[in-house]
Assembly symmetry: D3
Homo-oligomer: 64 residues x 6
Amino acid sequence: MPYINIKVTDTNVTNEQKKLLIEGATELLMNILNKKPETTHVIIDEIPIENWGFNRKQFLGNKK
Amino acid sequence: MPYINIKVTDTNVTNEQKKLLIEGATELLMNILNKKPETTHVIIDEIPIENWGFNRKQFLGNKK
Amino acid sequence: MPYINIKVTDTNVTNEQKKLLIEGATELLMNILNKKPETTHVIIDEIPIENWGFNRKQFLGNKK
Amino acid sequence: MPYINIKVTDTNVTNEQKKLLIEGATELLMNILNKKPETTHVIIDEIPIENWGFNRKQFLGNKK
Amino acid sequence: MPYINIKVTDTNVTNEQKKLLIEGATELLMNILNKKPETTHVIIDEIPIENWGFNRKQFLGNKK
Amino acid sequence: MPYINIKVTDTNVTNEQKKLLIEGATELLMNILNKKPETTHVIIDEIPIENWGFNRKQFLGNKK
């Protein structure tokens, strides 16, 4: 009964990509740990780009 | 000093229901573990329905 | 399909109390939001007391 | 390679304040644990004020 | 710069399986969202089996 | 009423360092967002080094 949380910046993740992330993450747990898909939850959090810091700056700031 | 995080899909949770969730979760910790309400925090995360995967599909996809 | 995470300090939470927390939290979601127990997960994290800070001090430090 | 998550209510946190939080949190880990900024991530979550409960009430409710 | 958190019960996850989970999760983000492995973090939490509730019972309780 | 979660690898974080992290994180929120220390919680999670992946490998694996 795994729970997988994927946090990415909110930069145009399409619905198709969300489907693929959910499928891929669930299958990873099926293949490696024999977990059942019926009890596997995946939550994708899209973090506003200005709320994600990396290397002491807003992700935004790193882009320049 | 407990911290409780409730994640649900963002499907019309009313303000009244949020109040009841906060009250209920705080009282659960008071009753079972004798925790003080003044140090108990509850955070409700409403997850966009297309970002929650279950049984290898978007929650959305399961609805059909 | 809610997910509930309860964080408390690791101060002798008994197995019986864990059962009651899981039951209570699941029923809260059933009663208030009509969520099904079969898709409701509860995770209890017991945090070492010296790793929880509150009011600028280790929880430990507040006990004196 | 630390990961820091800061949750605050969504009450007008300015972009300037976000920058300072990211800088400050990263430097805290550099100064105290010698962590490298290049592998330190900070995520700020702004929680809707009605979704944060404290002392058995919505944060909102405490304000009156 | 994604962050992936995988929560599973603490039932003998081997070091080899941890490596495969980390690799697989990182590659998922590379393949689907073009994220760089150098900024992708994966954290595996192994939750004590009696601390994970599902269907109103400890995971333990469901096993009988 | 902020909540700050600091995740680091479990590599000999001393009690003194934990105190400084808690103090520093609380003061950061006081100084930048005017948050009260009495409602600020800090939780430090020490992640087993083999459970933290970075750049597609266990943190361990990167050390060689």
